[in-house]
Each structure stands twice: as structure tokens, then as C-alpha cells.
Amino acid sequence: MRMTAWTAALVATLLLPLAVSAAAQAAPAYTYQGTVHTLDTTTGTLELITGVGMSLRLVTMTAPPAAAPANLKPGDVVRAECRRTDTGLVADRIVKIEVPAP
């Protein structure tokens, strides 16, 4: 049976939400809050210290310049909203958390 243009458009319309949903499932969102350990502005690589209790972990992510505050430095506390890609974690938004001075 020949598919008409109208039928093709209908099928595409029906399948589009599924495709978008599959893409969303492929890149789940993660939020990390921790201390900046290193920030390599040449490679856009950010290492964040996170953890539970005394069990600490280093989380490495790509931080595009558009996603990170300009004055970010080691020791800053941030919240990073990320998604996992084939090349690793990529930050979509990094927000600096102001911690009161001791």
C-alpha cells in the first residue's frame, strides 16, 4: 500500500512524542551539590567533591562556559544540573551557593 503524504505526516506526529521521550530517557538529569576541586577552563572540565558522610567522591563533568559563573574557583560551593551523554556528564547549569563566612 502506498503511503500518502498525509499518512506519513500523521505517523510522524504520533511517533514524535515517543522519540522525544526516548531521547529524554537517554539523557537523565542529575543534580550535584558540592565543592569545586578543580576547574580547567581550557578543556572546560570541572571536578566536584561530593559524597555522603566521610565517604567522599570526585565527580568529573564538562562545564561549558555558558553554564558556569565566570568567577568560579576551587573551594566554591555549587549546585550543578547535569545530564549524562556518551562522552560523560555535561553541566547545563551551575549555580554558586553562597556559604556564610565562618
Partner: protein, 386 residues
């Protein structure tokens, strides 16, 4: 007599009227279901883990109850190693930055390996981080009354802080903060914000048992675990087992202080008069809680949960905002069961522990040293009643 001292006396009097709580008892007035969870949590707490059930491949001990065993939830004779790096000078400009060395396996350096890891890498313990600027020895802390300490509101802790010593008493308390900026209170440097996280993190840091709240394995000096040496599937501890363990620790009561004799009561007064109680605040009050037995309860804590500079002789590692010399005021609970004192167990008597206090505690220490022999003995008698 001040209102504060009346409150302490009433608390001790009330404690004397109720059935005394022994080390290892649950807090009174738990529901039947909570007592059941306490009992079941103790079973997990005392469970011995093996590589097949999640232990390792790096670990300090194979059970919670192995370090906190004397009695259940109490102290043990184990000493573990922590390491961090404190960069007080360039390349890091002031203020100094503390690196917990997560990239090199820090801050807790595990002292044992499973046979499979030993075979794979030929090591008996985790390598000491090459970037560490200091090593710290840590005795197992008692964990009685931690559920109550967990519920002291942050606002109360902050109200005790005096970082610029505005009252000119030489004591500057300040809170530590976790890596995410929250106020800390647990651990010898007051780094960990909640009891829940301290417990879940301990499964990871002490036994490398992954759980739903710390689902990734410890590294070996910052490097991934070799393939094939960790046979258990992550998470190695179920949510239910973690929850039960957390409830067991949360419901462990602070033991009732012994009835103070005339010397002990005199020692209690001297303890306040010479300034010990400035940091070792006798009473704290919990805030709101879904557990009625823990809610809005005043309890003998003898801590302000703040960091204080204890002087260069006790200094070891930094953690969070805590400099090497900063330590959180240790809660004085179950001192009568202790044989070693201070964070690393270096003191073998209470008198020696007091004399090793320095920094912000130097004034109180010096006033203790100028007391008569009988008065010093009274202070020690009071402490031994806790």
C-alpha cells in the same frame, strides 16, 4: 544558684527517678514498632560482612559492631587513619583551602584489603595519599545519644558561635560545613551534617559496603577497583537494612549519668566555674521530630557542636572549614566507660586529657591546673559520673 545550674540539677534528679539507662539501651518511650526496629537494626549493626556480601575490597573492619562494640554502640580499641591536604600558602591564596584528597582515596584511608584485591594489586592496605600534608589517627567514637544530637536545630548551634570573640573570653566557636555548604556536626571535626549521612557514609568509608545512599565503591588510592575483585552486586546493602541500622544508632540512648556524690556535685560546679562549660555546654534541647521519644527533649550533651582551635599540639588534618588545629567540642557521654581520651586516644586519663587541651581551651586548662588537688579530683569525679 543560676537558672542554668538548677536545670542541670533537675535533669540529674529526674534521671535519678527514672530507671537508669545503661550503655546500649534504647531511648525511653519508643513505640513498640520503634523498639522492634531498634532490635532488628542491632542485628544488621552486628552483622559481619564478607566479600560475597559486600565487604571491601578495601575496609577498616568487617562489621559496625567490630569498632563500636564495648558494649553495643560504645567505643572500641581500633584506631584508623585519615589524611587530607591543607594548602595555607600559594598556589592557593588565603583563605586556606582544605583538600579531602578524594582523588587519592581520602580522607579515610582503609587499613585492610580483601584477598582478591591483595592478589590483584599486591597491597595490604590503601596507599597513603602522596599529596597528603598530614595524617590523623582516629579512635572509634561512642555513638550513644547521636539521635538527640542530630535533632539540635542549626539555629541553636549558630547561636553559640562567636567567631570573632565578641565577648572577649578567648573562646571562638564556629560551625564546620560539609562540601555542599550545610552546617556539619558529626565526626571529630564536625564535618557531617546529619546522622543519616554519617551512618550511610560509614558503610562506604569503613567497609566499602555500597548502599542506596552511597551506591559507588571507594577507589583504591583514587584509582578504580580492578575488574573481578568485588563479587557483590551494587548496592550491597538494601534500603531496609540501611534504614534499620540508622534507627538502631538513632535510638541508642545516652547512658544515665551516675548519681553524683558530694565530690561529684562540687566537681560539676567547678567544671562550669573554670570555663569548661563554655564549650562543653551541659544541656542541649532537640527540636521537632517524627519520633516522639526524641522530640523537644533536653539532654546532657556537654558540647556546643562547634569547632574550636585546640592549639598546635593536638593539630593534625584539616576537614572542610576545620583547620588542622580545629576540633568539634566532643560530647561528654559515657566517659565512665572510657580508657583512652581525645580524638586519637593519646590521653590515658581524664586529667591528662584536660592538660592536653590548648588554644581556645588554654584558659580553662590553666584554671584547672591551679585548682587544689582535692578540687581537681572533684572535677574528675564529676566527669567519671558521665
Amino acid at each position: 544558684m543560676t537558672r542554668h545550674r538548677v536545670a542541670i540539677a533537675l535533669l540529674f534528679f529526674a534521671a535519678g527517678c527514672e530507671k537508669p539507662l545503661k550503655p546500649g539501651d534504647p531511648v525511653p518511650k519508643l513505640t513498640k514498632e520503634q523498639r522492634d526496629r531498634f532490635a532488628r537494626g542491632k542485628v544488621v549493626f552486628d552483622s559481619v560482612f564478607t566479600p560475597e556480601t559486600g565487604l571491601g575490597p578495601l575496609f577498616n573492619q568487617d562489621a559496625c559492631g567490630e569498632c563500636h562494640e564495648d558494649p553495643a554502640g560504645g567505643r572500641g580499641d581500633e584506631v584508623e587513619v585519615h589524611a587530607t591536604a591543607f594548602h595555607a600558602s600559594p598556589p592557593n591564596p588565603p583563605p586556606a583551602v582544605c583538600d579531602p584528597l578524594a582523588q587519592e582515596g581520602g580522607p579515610v584511608i582503609q587499613l585492610h584489603t580483601t584477598p582478591a584485591l591483595k592478589q590483584a594489586l599486591g597491597i595490604d592496605q590503601e596507599p597513603f595519599p602522596p599529596s597528603a600534608t598530614a595524617r590523623a589517627m582516629r579512635t572509634s567514637p561512642v555513638i550513644f545519644g547521636r539521635g538527640l544530637l542530630d535533632l539540635v536545630p542549626d539555629t541553636v548551634i549558630l547561636s553559640y558561635a562567636d567567631p570573632s570573640d565578641k565577648n572577649h573570653d578567648g573562646v571562638k566557636g564556629r560551625p564546620n560545613r560539609f562540601v555542599d555548604g550545610r552546617i556539619g556536626r558529626f565526626g571529630r571535626k564536625g564535618f557531617v551534617p546529619t546522622l543519616r549521612e554519617f551512618n550511610a557514609g560509614a558503610f562506604g568509608a569503613e567497609m566499602s559496603v555500597t548502599n542506596p545512599e552511597q551506591p559507588t565503591e571507594e577507589t583504591v588510592g583514587g584509582k578504580p577497583i580492578p575488574a573481578g575483585v568485588d563479587p557483590a552486586t551494587d548496592p550491597e546493602l538494601s534500603q531496609e537494612a540501611l534504614d534499620l541500622t540508622d534507627d538502631f544508632v538513632r535510638f541508642l540512648a545516652p547512658p544515665t549519668p551516675l548519681k553524683a556524690g558530694k565530690d561529684g556535685r562540687h566537681g560539676r560546679d567547678l567544671f562550669s566555674q573554670i570555663g569548661c562549660a563554655t564549650c562543653h555546654r551541659p544541656l542541649l534541647r532537640t527540636g521537632d521530630s517524627p519520633v516522639a521519644a526524641l522530640k523537644n527533649r533536653e539532654f546532657a550533651a556537654y558540647t556546643d557542636l562547634l569547632l574550636h582551635d585546640m592549639g598546635p599540639d593536638l593539630a593534625d588534618i584539616c576537614v572542610g572549614l576545620a583547620t588542622p588545629a580545629d576540633f568539634r567540642t566532643e560530647p561528654l557521654l559515657d566517659l565512665r566507660g572510657a580508657e583512652h581520651f581525645l580524638h586519637d586516644g593519646r590521653a590515658t586519663s581524664l586529667e591528662q586529657a584536660i592538660e592536653l587541651h590548648g588554644g581556645e581551651a588554654a584558659g580553662a586548662r590553666d584554671r584547672f591546673k591551679t585548682l587544689s588537688e582535692a578540687d581537681r579530683a572533684a572535677v574528675v569525679a564529676f566527669l567519671k559520673s558521665l
